[in-house]
Amino acid sequence: MIKRNKKRASMIIGIILCVLILSAAFAIDWPSENGSILHNFGWNNNGSPVLFHSFASEGTIRSIDSGEIIFIHNNNNPASSIPSPLGSWMAIAQGDGLISIYSRFESRDHQTISNIVEQGAILAFSGLSGWSEQKGFSFTLYDSKENRWVNPAMILPILSDTRAPQVRQVLLVGQDGRQFNPAVQRTLPQGQYKILVDAFDTLGDVNANQLAFHRISCMINGVESAVLHMETFSGQKGDLMVYRKNLSPASTVYASYPFYELGKVLLNRGQVVLEIVASDVANNNHNTVFRMIIE
């Protein structure tokens, strides 16, 4: 009986291992083997969110997964009468409504590429086209079923990263516009405050580019009172929206560059413990705690 159970357990473990290995073999992969991330999804670009990962890279750009090319724009296309901030770009339908967009690569004729591409197929070459300052390319994920931009970090393999995000500064802005730095000012008047956080993440190396965090929350006396998720952005009734506690206009969240506005909190009289928790996609967390007296 015990031998039979052991045999069954080994079989189950073996099957699970096979499934994992097979999944790894066919899993989504990064679009470039080399290069560094310049800006990532959600980064505050002078008051506007970045909706893509931009890479500084050389060489080939590969399809992250198999799919069908549904749109190609080459900067030399005479049919296009509008400028192209995406530069030369290509959209590939991956299935289930997910569209990957490779952009700002080298402008060249793509007619030799098949309409159906396999994972890892060479799509283009790193270049300098559209809104970019450095040779490389940009990568965007779009969900056409939910009509929203998706953070590529949510489906791309997680890179090795043991460094938690950094919080440079936190500001509380009162309804009268007065700003308070809780790091130096421990006594605040009672009232409603906007929480502004200047935070960034890096990929391991202390000298690496500053990137957007994945999630940042504000806890007041242990209760989550404000939060900002860098998972999706969507256009709704003419506004670009991002998730805080609810869908909020990105213009509000990003207006106070380089800060991100997490939301508004009500500080009542008494002792307050304000905690800012910044997380990256690798689940590294950074906590910053402020103790204040509210009068």
Partner: protein, 357 residues
């Protein structure tokens, strides 16, 4: 008896002959010919004095050169293109990849105003100024002082835009068209289904704003025409036009909004809005340029066959090819101004006037 039968036929033949000559004959129609008007080389930079040119001035972009030329062939200016260029009949701008500001200039090369922190690229349509955001998900309208008047964020990346009759139309990667009024408010949107893949590849607004034309989808690609119906628009015609191109496609309202012309697999389609007849004109090669006016009963197209073969094709409505002129050039330019046709190839712009004889 046989002789009588023969005599009977002869008068009938004479009557028919006389009738045909005097009553059934039609006069030979006038044919349209292209008469060369002027030739202007653009090999060298030009910075002309303003009194040498007269309005209207037409922008051209050819072989790495950019500038404005008037209907007499005088250049307002001609320079090397050094970056991205956006232009219209009344203004232009040249900029690099990620500019912190963009200078807007007149066709006489005078500074008009500056747009600071554009966060996108400008385009000028219908006499107005717009910016397409760097994420290619939003359009902003700005005034002649460079101040943003409004911004509209779409729910998908933008694949095509047209502005006409105080309306702004965007086609999106998710197969939706969105129509905004001059204040940036959405007045109409439509998800174009009916194809296996839903993407908008071209969109156009008629000059009077009462009609919208769209090329959408893959497998099969469709041409759709919408007509204004109260506060909204409804589809009045659609046609499947082949498996489809996976790129921006040429589309125009021509002949004073009486027809729509569009690029389709194997040639050009021309749809007559009044008669609701669609004609497919087979053409060799890809359509490289299309006459955006198509007036005076003639419509011109330039096709391209690699490596550098180009062909000017003149089409008389509803769809008869009346002239074909092959030439060699890597890049080309085509513009129509009333009865003049301006064609550019290599380092030369040539104007033809259309005459009937």
């Amino acid at each position: 008896m046989a002789k009588r039968k023969k005599k009977f036929w002869i008068p009938i033949i004479i009557v028919v002959f006389v009738f045909y000559i005097f009553f059934a004959a039609q006069p030979v129609g006038l044919e349209t010919v292209l008469k060369s008007q002027w030739i202007t080389p653009i090999e060298y930079d030009v910075s002309a004095e303003s009194e040498d040119v007269s309005e209207p001035l037409m922008p051209f972009l050819l072989n790495g050169k950019f500038g404005y030329i008037d209907v007499s062939g005088n250049l307002s200016f001609n320079k090397n293109r050094e970056g991205y260029v956006s232009f219209s009949d009344s203004r232009w701008a040249e900029y690099q990849g990620a500019p912190s500001q963009i200078e807007i200039k007149s066709p006489l090369n005078e500074n008009l105003f500056t747009v600071r922190n554009p966060n996108g690229y400008p385009f000028f349509l219908d006499g107005k100024n717009f910016i397409l955001a760097q994420n290619q998900n939003a359009i902003s309208k700005f005034n002649d002082a460079g101040n943003v008047l409004w911004t509209y964020y779409f729910d998908a990346p933008v694949t095509c835009i047209n502005v006409n009759a105080d309306l702004v139309m965007a086609g999106l990667l998710n197969g939706t068209i969105v129509l905004l009024n001059d204040n940036g408010n959405e007045i109409f949107s439509f998800e174009v289904l009916g194809s296996r893949v839903a993407v908008i590849y071209a969109c156009k607004i008629s000059n009077d704003g009462t009609k919208l034309a769209v090329i959408s989808g893959l497998d099969k690609q469709r041409f759709l025409l919408f007509e204004q119906h109260g506060e909204s628009y409804r589809v009045i015609y659609h046609e499947y036009i082949g498996d489809g191109y996976r790129r921006s496609v040429m589309l125009s309202f021509i002949d004073n909004d009486k027809r729509a012309a569009f690029e389709r697999e194997g040639g050009i389609g021309i749809y007559d809005i009044q008669s609701r007849q669609s004609t497919m004109i087979p053409l060799e090669g890809n359509v490289y340029a299309m006459d955006s006016k198509g007036i005076d009963d003639m419509f011109f197209v330039i096709t391209s066959l690699p490596p550098q073969e180009k062909k000017l094709v003149g089409i008389r409505y509803p769809g008869m090819i009346t002239c074909e002129a092959p030439f060699k050039s890597e890049s080309i330019y085509l513009n129509r101004n009333d009865s003049s046709l301006i064609i550019g190839g290599g380092d030369t712009l040539i104007s033809f006037v259309l005459k009937k004889r």
